[in-house]
């Protein structure tokens, strides 16, 4: 019903929506509909179609997960200055650090070394050692690339924001990686939101799009078949039939208005947004309904045990979302407050519990994706805001440690069974193939066929460090 639009008018209306950059993805969707094509064009041939982003809030210890340091056991109880490695505390080596809260109780130098709180076994064909707290994940090591030489600059939990946006908290707030991917690629499925978040986001900012606009914020969803998203079903006695006919009437009225104002792109976009909304509220509960999953699959994610069930459900839902073409699923584990992994004391009990909650579900996710042939096009990223100090805080904990930590990636164009980069003998500094957090962003964007330099927004200056460097050594 929508009439032809002259070039001038079209430019005019796109010009108007410049303020609400938000319209870009939707415009992309509309044009996709018009052209029958596939969204915005990526800048290069992509390896991955979707990203699953698993973020451990609070800071997982690299020393008890993927970066074993026997010297810690050897010198346990000694201060760093009593070991051959005292140079690690040379103040010149802390120059990247940017402290938000000076004199905070946390984020301090911890001098007395703490022995490893868990053993490691070589796992898989590659023989990369993995913490005994990850028995299941260890069995998938041949699919995973570990990066052991990450560093960041915030010694406090602002580093959570920093890992998502690439910028230190004191710089202000910037779009998160998921928002850039969403902005750059648009949609694969018109029935579902393309950028989804699960889990509690309490400490760090709740927006993703920032200057890209709110339409690039993640849509928060819950694993709840009845009500997976906010306002996802009528909060009143309106019946489905009534709702459907009201939608129908609305569509007619909108079309009538559009006949009078064929140039009104907002009107057109709004009509489309109602169609999408109507489909979304039907599709999402279906995705969250695991009735058709076999018991074996459900157990693979640990749905049969109370410890693993909450995270397992999120990951099974994630696989189902990715299967349906959702671009980016961002999951926070242990969110709320500073984050559950923040083991300033009792690291052993803390990490044993949290690893157990996540181990089987993550291994299950990788295996399930692989069996279904989805791992090739799905990039799974596991990250945390920083590592933990080799020295002990109190007698049983470790403090925040921005100078070195580990992350891993799998699938979607990543080489499996690789450990890349290294820290020094006590895991203090990343010393070999050092990577700042935006190197992970660059790697993800590269595998998605995007070039961050082509995603610039006029008037919004990006710095060299925002773009990062692709970690080529872990590409398949």
């Amino acid at each position: 019903m929508i009439g032809p639009i002259s070039l001038a008018n079209r430019r005019h209306f796109l010009g108007r929506s410049c303020l609400g950059f938000g319209s870009l993805a939707l415009n992309a969707m509309l044009s996709q509909k018009a052209q029958g094509g596939s969204g915005l064009m990526p800048h290069a041939v992509p390896k991955a179609k979707s990203v699953i982003w698993l973020f451990m809030n609070g800071g997982t210890s690299h020393l008890e997960s993927f970066d074993p340091k026997p010297e810690l056991d050897k010198y346990a109880g000694k201060t760093i200055s009593e070991t051959p490695y005292k140079d690690v505390q040379n103040p010149n080596r802390f120059k990247d650090l940017r402290v938000v809260a000076k004199g905070d109780a946390n984020g301090q130098q911890r001098h007395r070394l703490l022995a490893r709180q868990i053993g490691f076994q070589k796992r898989g064909q590659c023989g990369i050692p993995v913490s005994d707290w990850y028995p299941h994940l260890g069995s998938m090591i041949d699919e995973m690339a570990i990066v052991k030489s990450m560093w960041t600059t915030d010694d406090n939990h602002g580093a959570q924001t920093q890992f998502h946006s690439g910028r230190h908290m004191l710089d202000g707030e910037f779009p998160n990686l998921g928002a850039w991917v969403h902005y750059g690629l648009g949609t694969l499925n018109e029935n579902l939101p393309q950028f989804i978040s699960m889990g509690t986001r309490e400490y760090w900012n709740k927006r993703d799009g920032h200057y890209l606009g709110p339409s690039h914020d993640a849509v928060p969803v819950k694993v709840d078949t009845a009500n997976p998203l906010d306002f996802g079903r009528p909060e009143s006695d309106m019946t489905f039939a009534e709702q459907k006919s009201a939608f129908g009437l609305l569509d007619k009225l909108g079309t009538i208005a559009a006949t009078r104002r064929p140039y009104d792109r907002d009107l057109e976009a709004r009509l489309q947004s109602y169609e999408l909304a109507f489909r979304m509220q039907k599709s999402l509960p279906e995705v969250m309904d695991f009735a058709k999953e076999t018991e074996a699959t459900r157990n693979l994610y640990g749905l049969d045990r109370s410890e693993t069930r909450p995270f397992g459900q999120q990951l099974l839902a994630t696989r189902r979302l990715v299967e349906k073409g959702v671009r980016f699923v961002q999951i926070q584990h242990g969110g709320g407050g500073a984050g559950a992994w923040d083991a300033h004391e009792g690291l052993k009990g803390n990490h044993a519990t949290l690893c157990q909650q996540t181990d089987k579900p993550m291994a299950g996710l990788l295996l399930d994706l692989k069996r279904r042939g989805l791992l090739e096009t799905t990039l799974v990223v596991w990250a945390t805001e920083f590592g933990r100090t080799p020295g002990t805080q109190g007698s049983t904990g470790r403090d925040h440690h921005p100078f070195a930590f580990s992350i891993w990636m799998a699938g979607g164009g990543i080489k499996g069974g690789v450990a890349h980069g290294a820290t020094d003998e006590i895991g203090f500094h990343a010393v070999e193939n050092r990577h700042y957090v935006t190197d992970v962003h660059a790697t993800i964007l590269h595998l998605m066929g995007l070039d961050s330099r082509k995603l610039e927004i006029p008037e919004r200056k990006r710095l060299e460090i925002d773009h990062g460097q692709v970690i080529r050594e872990i590409l398949a």
């Binding site: 005019h12 809260a101 906010d230 009528p234 309106m238 009534e242 009201a246 979304m280």
Partner: protein, 1037 residues
């Protein structure tokens, strides 16, 4: 592409104008162009390049290898290279190749290339000028001139229904109701109606929210209970904004109050609220970030300049140096925040006005080399100053002396009265307790001859099944027959109240678990609770210190007796049981089946409410049982000895004595605060030490009465002794009454620094700034605000870069109009209502928003620079919700006051009153681009499916649709669907339906009638519900 083709010898050299010049502009021009001519070199034209600088020509046409331009770009040494290290991004190798090819091909450029004009001549840095204009509304007259130059006719005027809707929503944020429209039927002009609307509270609220966007209003946020950004009770500033708009306070006066009320009106509590503007950027962790944010947003919001770009180096576009930046910072360097107690409220957590004051008058500002705070230039102090490019407007700070009541705020008579009454209140409580203790002692001396028969306990309630017995007071409590859960983590404290009769002797059992929250994670049971008093037994899963604790609140003051604390390994998500038995002043507590506490309650028990309490915790409580115990039941065999009872009497006597001394010492303290003469301060010090001594003695007596550990008694004895010695030589130091609490300057600030007296002077720097900003000669202040106001009325700014009027910003689409309005505003004493009136009574404002497709304007002026039609605007989130409430007749008109919880889904007050911060947003409003508190010079206007879901599925949409339907046609009304559709369109969309629209609506209503034949109102509700989802409802057209 270029280099390759060039190598093949087939390509022409790169074009100067389209390829080379933009590279030079980006990489060289900031230092070598109109703004700066470092080394005497300019790069803004090819001729100037060739001419070169102090060291000769920078180009050798035809020979790139010999051209200094290329050589300097190629230098390895960062200091030698152009642009130098830290001064700008390097020229990429691709761009360098292009430059080489252009030079090698002869460096050809057009002959008549124009050099950059003098940046200080930039339009926005010159004062506005008024042009001669024709008769009629000046807006129409100026725009008509622009239109006639291009022969663009305007489109027709908007239909009257739409125009009224436009005017009402624009001026008040609320659409007209049928009653309001009926009044309009009696033909009134736009001007008359505008006057009525401009005089309304609704207008003040609507436009207050616009200014709150620009000035970045935000309620406080932090982590848990710690305030890290903004301040509590900053809503006082919001109320000041509303008040100011209602009274049409001149904009220049608003600026003076917001920037410097503490210097200009230091005793006017109403005006001091205005300084919320500078309270807002508070950031506890980093003063530099706080200052940076202050400078950036005052620059953008009031000056329309990106001062922030000059923090690390000179501005790359505007003539603003890095020194200018730090001189501007020096204006704000001394200021800090304090929280003035008001209206006799002594607890600053409950209420206080957060406002600014100059705290550190001698703090020096240093320039940070390359913006690095670790690298200050200590050679020179940055004196306060303003950017000089804006002309020679005086800026002349002079120190301002402050009256005594400003630096001694405790002298405020209301506070003095409140302090005195607080002591009197405590005294009367203690006197009652003393009387009770005496009676208990007397009774114990003559024991009853016969024991009353033991009766058995009565079950009062089990679980939470009876809705009459329970009331959710705060938080998110869900009650099931055998379980209560509390899931709200936003509110610090939540309460579930038991509504049965007050309990004296009772037993309470519960199986509970703490499921989340941070950091204290406390859940418990308060009894004897009233507004200001309670006894509370709680369990806390506070990570470093889990425990069961007894605490009391008396007259609002909480205490946590050492004896009432038992460490227990309570962790999240692990069940435990509590059993509490209370009989008279005896309390027994069992934890997981074993007794952990035998406690003697304070004597002043007064049966009150029983409350389930959480404090920064979520919880799940099941197997709850509450029993009433018969009077006189013997809980244990411990009967206090006569000796113990006598000690208690002594303790209360001592406490009363201390409080009487405090009361007696009150006047000497006041006298010393008013006149700190030697004799006055001596008396005050003496009185305070006397009170301190007696209080310590009372504490000692209490400890002895309670039989606490000997070491503690010993240590208290020493305290008493020390004070006794001090009494001999009281000195002259005393603690004045607190009338204002300083906000922490940083997370590391010491108590000593926090307590330091308020200065008796202010620097006068912000007053000077306010005077500079509001000078009639200032080229930017009026233009910037006129542009903001225009944008909000017209949907399209005159200067598109609303916060950047500098050289990087956009040129005004009609400078004559902008200047005319800016001068007119100043000539009308900065009256914003005058400006509103001028705009809304123009013919341009009344133009239709839907011109026909064949209108020549589409071709002649596609960007609508001449405003030949009215640009439609998406309604702001607040107007969507407020408009629905208004149409349904349920909008609560109360203006101002404390914020509403962002979780409050019941409130029918206007949306600007919800708590709104970086971390918290009301969930319905959040869907519709509610303001970003970090930066909101214009609202986003996104179109996303979640908006459709919110408008279709929210309870508020449905409830209000139903109420609107009831208002249009009450249940019993026989109104035909035809008529109903007519009315509904008028109400919701502001215009009658077309014939086709009417037909499909009537059809839908008939269909709904068939499916719900018994409910005649339902089809009407459904229709309204559909129409509020229409694009034309959430659009202002």
């Amino acid at each position: 592409m270029w280099p390759l083709l060039f190598l093949l010898g087939t390509a022409p050299p790169p074009d100067y104008t389209t390829v080379i010049k933009p590279i030079l502009a980006l990489r060289c021009r900031a230092c070598h162009g109109g703004l700066n001519q470092k080394g005497g070199l300019r790069t803004d034209t090819a001729a100037l390049l060739l001419e070169g600088g102090n060291s000769g020509p920078s180009l050798v046409a035809g020979n790139s290898a010999e051209s200094p331009l290329v050589r300097r770009i190629q230098k390895q040494d960062g200091k030698q290279r152009m642009p130098p290290e830290h001064e700008g991004e390097m020229v990429s190798s691709t761009d360098l190749d292009l430059i080489r090819q252009w030079i090698d091909a002869g460096a050809k450029a057009p002959d008549l290339e124009k050099a950059e004009s003098d940046p200080s001549k930039h339009w926005a840095f010159q004062p506005p000028k008024k042009s001669a204009i024709g008769p009629g509304n000046p807006i129409d007259s100026i725009l008509e001139k622009a239109r006639s130059e291009k022969k663009i006719p305007t489109t027709s005027s908007a239909a009257s229904g739409l125009l009224w809707r436009r005017l009402f929503i624009d001026l008040t944020g609320l659409p007209p109701t049928r009653e309001q429209l009926a009044i309009l039927a009696n033909p009134k002009t736009i001007a008359q109606t505008a006057d009525t609307l401009l005089a309304s509270d609704a207008h003040a609220e609507r436009w207050a929210r616009h200014f709150m966007d620009i000035w970045r209003y935000s309620d406080w946020w932090g982590l848990g209970a710690e305030v890290r950004n903004s301040q509590k009770h900053i809503w006082h500033w919001r109320d000041w904004i509303i008040d100011s708009i209602r009274r049409d306070k001149p904009y220049d006066q608003m600026i003076r109050e917001m920037f410097a009320a503490d210097e200009l009106y230091p005793t006017d509590q109403e005006k001091l609220r205005a300084t919320g503007l500078l309270v807002r950027p508070y950031f506890i962790f980093n003063r530099n970030s706080w200052m940076e944010e202050t400078i950036e947003h005052l620059g953008k919001g009031f000056l329309g300049l990106t001062l922030n770009c000059a923090r690390c180096h000179d501005h790359k576009y505007d003539p603003i140096s890095q020194v200018d930046y730090y001189r501007f910072r020096a204006i704000f360097e001394p200021y800090q925040i304090r929280r003035d107690l008001v209206k006799g409220e002594l607890d600053p957590e409950k209420d206080a006005v957060p406002r600014i004051f100059d705290c550190n008058l001698d703090l020096k500002t240093r320039r940070f080399i390359r913006g690095d705070e670790a690298n200050p230039d200590t050679s020179k102090v940055m004196e306060p100053g303003v950017p000089t490019v804006l002309g020679k407007i005086p800026f002349d700070p002079k120190r301002i002396p402050l009256a005594q009541q400003v630096h001694q705020p405790g002298l405020n008579p209301t506070l003095v009265k409140a302090y005195r009454e607080r002591i009197q209140g405590q005294l009367s409580l203690e006197e009652k307790a003393l009387a009770a203790a005496k009676i208990t002692l007397e009774n114990a001396k003559t024991p009853p001859t016969t024991k009353p028969p033991q009766k058995s306990p009565t079950l009062l309630t089990k679980g939470f099944a009876d809705p009459k017995l329970w009331k959710v007071h705060s938080g998110t409590w869900l009650l099931a027959p055998n379980m209560a859960t509390q899931s709200n983590t936003k509110d610090l404290r939540t309460e579930l109240h038991y509504l049965g009769a007050p309990l004296t002797d009772f037993e309470l059992k519960a199986n509970m678990r703490i499921t989340g929250g941070d950091p204290y994670r406390s859940v418990g049971f308060a009894f004897d609770a009233s507004d200001a008093n309670e006894n509370l037994l709680y369990a806390s899963a506070h990570a470093p210190d889990p425990k069961v604790q007894f605490s009391t609140i008396r007259a609002g003051v909480a205490s946590y007796p050492e004896k009432g604390r038992i460490a227990k390994p309570i962790v999240l998500n692990q069940d435990f049981t509590l059993r509490i038995r209370v009989q008279a002043t005896t309390m027994l507590v069992d934890y997981n089946g074993s007794q952990i506490l035998h406690y003697t309650l304070p004597m002043d028990r007064k049966p009150g409410l029983l409350k389930l309490i959480t404090y920064t915790a979520t919880t799940q409580i099941n197997d709850f049982e509450l029993w009433e115990l018969p009077t006189g039941i013997q809980l244990d065999n411990k009967i206090p000895s006569l000796e113990t009872l006598a000690k208690k009497v002594k303790a209360f006597e001592a406490k009363c004595l201390a409080l009487r001394a405090e009361l007696a010492g009150f006047d000497p303290v006041l006298a010393a605060m008013r006149n700190p003469s030697a004799s006055n301060t001596q008396s005050a010090a003496k009185a305070q030490i006397e009170t301190e001594f007696l209080t310590a003695q009372a504490d000692l007596a209490k400890m002895v009465g309670e039989g606490v550990a000997l070491e503690k008694i010993k240590s208290q004895e020493k305290t008493v002794l020390d004070l006794a010695k001090k009494k001999l030589n009281p000195g002259t130091t005393f603690k004045p009454l607190v009338g204002s609490y300083k906000a922490k300057e940083s997370n590391q600030e010491s108590q000593e620094s926090l307590d330091k007296p308020f200065p008796t002077q202010s620097s006068g720097r912000r007053t000077a700034l306010a005077q500079w900003l509001t000078s009639r000669e200032h080229p930017l202040t009026a233009r910037v605000i006129v542009n903001h106001v225009w944008t909000r009325h017209m949907g399209q700014p005159l200067v598109k870069s609303v916060f950047d009027f500098g050289r990087k910003g956009k040129a005004p689409i009609n400078q004559e109009l902008l200047d005319w309005l800016a001068l007119d505003l100043m000539e009308h004493n900065y009256s914003l209502k005058h400006l509103h009136r001028m705009i809304v009574t123009s013919n341009t404002y009344a133009l239709a928003a839907d011109p026909p497709l064949d209108h020549p304007g589409w071709k002649l002026d596609p960007e609508n620079k001449t405003f030949w039609y009215k640009v439609p605007q998406r309604l702001e989130s607040e107007s969507i919700r407020d408009g629905l409430l208004h149409l349904s007749g349920t909008l609560d008109p109360k203006v101002g006051g404390p914020t509403l919880s962002s979780n409050d889904s019941q409130s029918s007050r206007r949306s600007l009153y919800f708590f709104h911060s970086h971390n918290e947003d009301q969930r319905f409003l959040a869907q519709f681009d509610s303001p970003n508190v970090l930066d909101c010079y214009r609202r986003e206007e996104s179109i996303v499916p979640q908006q459709a879901l919110a408008l279709f599925n929210s309870k508020i949409s449905r409830d209000l649709s139903q109420k609107i339907a009831d208002r249009i046609a009450p249940k019993a009304s026989m109104m035909t669907p035809d008529d109903f559709v007519n009315h509904a369109f008028q109400w919701i969309l502001g215009q009658p339906p077309g014939s086709l629209e009417k037909r499909v609506c009537v059809q839908a209503m008939e269909e709904w009638s068939r499916s719900t034949p018994k409910d005649s109102q339902r089809p009407r509700t459904n229709l309204i519900h559909t129409l509020i989802n229409h694009n034309d409802f959430i659009t202002l057209r």
